[in-house]
């Protein structure tokens, strides 16, 4: 419950405060958000499976974000930034879908 409140609070603060993101971080933000979404769905699934551990969630969340940003950064340096970020988004999207399918099986039993 607190976690859901945290998400809602984050969205509200982001919309209201309109914080300035440093220009260096800006290109990586979308990918980082998608990676974090993937971690959240994974955590939700683990919770429904009854195997949720907060440490694992924290580590996977942070490593997801860092690795995704790193891949995009590397892609930019190599000159294939847009292709690589597309690839990352595709992979994360597939994972989100499979996690969502597992969650759906738990919640709706179908």
């Amino acid at each position: 419950m607190i976690a859901v409140l945290g998400l809602v609070a984050g969205v509200v603060v982001g919309l209201l405060v309109r914080p300035e993101v440093p220009a260096v971080v800006e290109p990586y933000l979308p990918i980082a958000v998608v990676a974090a979404l993937d971690a959240v769905f994974g955590g939700l699934r683990a919770m429904l499976d009854g195997i949720f551990v907060d440490k694992v969630f924290v580590v996977s969340f942070l490593s997801n974000v860092v690795v995704a940003a790193l891949i995009v950064f590397l892609g930019d340096k190599l000159g294939v930034g847009s292709q690589l970020s597309t690839g990352v988004v595709v992979v994360l999207g597939i994972r989100i879908f499979s996690n969502a399918a597992a969650i759906r099986r738990h919640v709706f039993r179908a």
């Binding site: 607190i2 509200v12 933000l29 942070l62 994972r95």
Partner: protein, 283 residues
């Protein structure tokens, strides 16, 4: 990353229950809820029940707080990204090479449009000046046509001048005397002349017809009336000089009357004749 995340959960799952068993009792101890005691007793709960439990009685635990913090960061990032994507177009967050490319394209486009604008303005200027020139040329042409038309007798003319009326009851006046009269008028500066409704021009000729006089083959009868446009102060004395036209005509028993109306209208016209052989050499 993808292989790193899911597999840990499975191994973790096997070693998790031992971790979770001690954790659960700690939870109820912290929250002190009445529903908690049944948890250890019922380990085979469905996912849905777990979800409901996790959501409803809100418990403050370290795990919840950490997850809440991470989710707060996620929500923040999400909101920022959505906002920056929606308000300041696609340029925000675009990569450097994309920006350079867009800038290049815009520069090229601006230059192209500037060139086109310059070209169109030049064209407009050119058209304006040429239309002005054409208008001026047309005006001059019309003016010249009018002047030449008066000389060639193709347009009517009006202005100050005199009317010379020669009455010859005895029929003594010959064509050569009329020709002398005409020459005298021309010498005095006459600009447009008509005699009895016949316009006199450069090619006009007088002839003696049976019992009368012809101008350009057209027979006229007396009284001969000259309508002359010119400066009256020059024309009249030129006729009246001693031994001049008037005296010569009066010698032939003819009566000569010169009047000066305020306005003379020479409205006899002559068709413009295209020369058969002579061509302009100026072009």
């Amino acid at each position: 990353m993808s292989t790193n995340d899911n597999p840990p959960e499975e191994p973790m799952g096997s070693e998790l229950p031992p971790h979770e068993e001690p954790a659960r009792p700690a939870g109820p101890a912290a929250a002190g809820g009445g529903a908690q005691p049944e948890k250890p007793g019922a380990p085979a709960r469905s996912g849905r029940q777990r979800l409901v439990e996790a959501v409803w009685p809100p418990r403050v635990s370290r795990a919840q707080l950490i997850v809440a913090l991470l989710l707060f960061v996620l929500g923040l990032g999400l909101a920022i990204q959505v906002r920056s994507n929606s308000d300041s177009s696609a340029l925000r967050g675009a990569r450097q090479e994309d920006l350079v490319r867009i800038l290049d394209e815009l520069d090229g486009r601006t230059k192209r449009l500037e060139d086109e604008k310059q070209r169109l303005e030049d064209q407009r200027k050119e058209l304006e000046s040429s239309s002005n020139q054409a208008e001026e040329a047309r005006r001059q042409t019309v003016e010249k046509e009018r002047q030449l038309g008066i000389l060639a007798g193709t347009v009517a003319a009006q202005g100050p001048g005199i009317v010379l009326k020669i009455t010859d009851p005895t029929g003594q006046v010959q064509s050569d005397q009329l020709l002398d009269t005409l020459q005298e008028l021309r010498a005095a500066g006459a600009e447009a002349i008509q005699v009895n409704g016949v316009r006199v021009v450069a090619s006009s000729f007088f002839s003696d017809e049976g019992g009368g006089i012809g101008i350009d083959g057209k027979k006229i009868t007396q009284p001969y009336e000259f309508k002359v446009i010119g400066k009256p102060q020059d024309l009249e004395p030129a006729l009246n000089i001693p031994g001049g036209v008037v005296q010569t005509l009066e010698k032939e028993q003819a009566t000569v009357a010169v009047t000066r109306p305020a306005k003379i209208v020479v409205d006899a016209l002559r068709a413009a004749k295209q020369p058969d052989y002579a061509r302009s050499s100026s072009s």
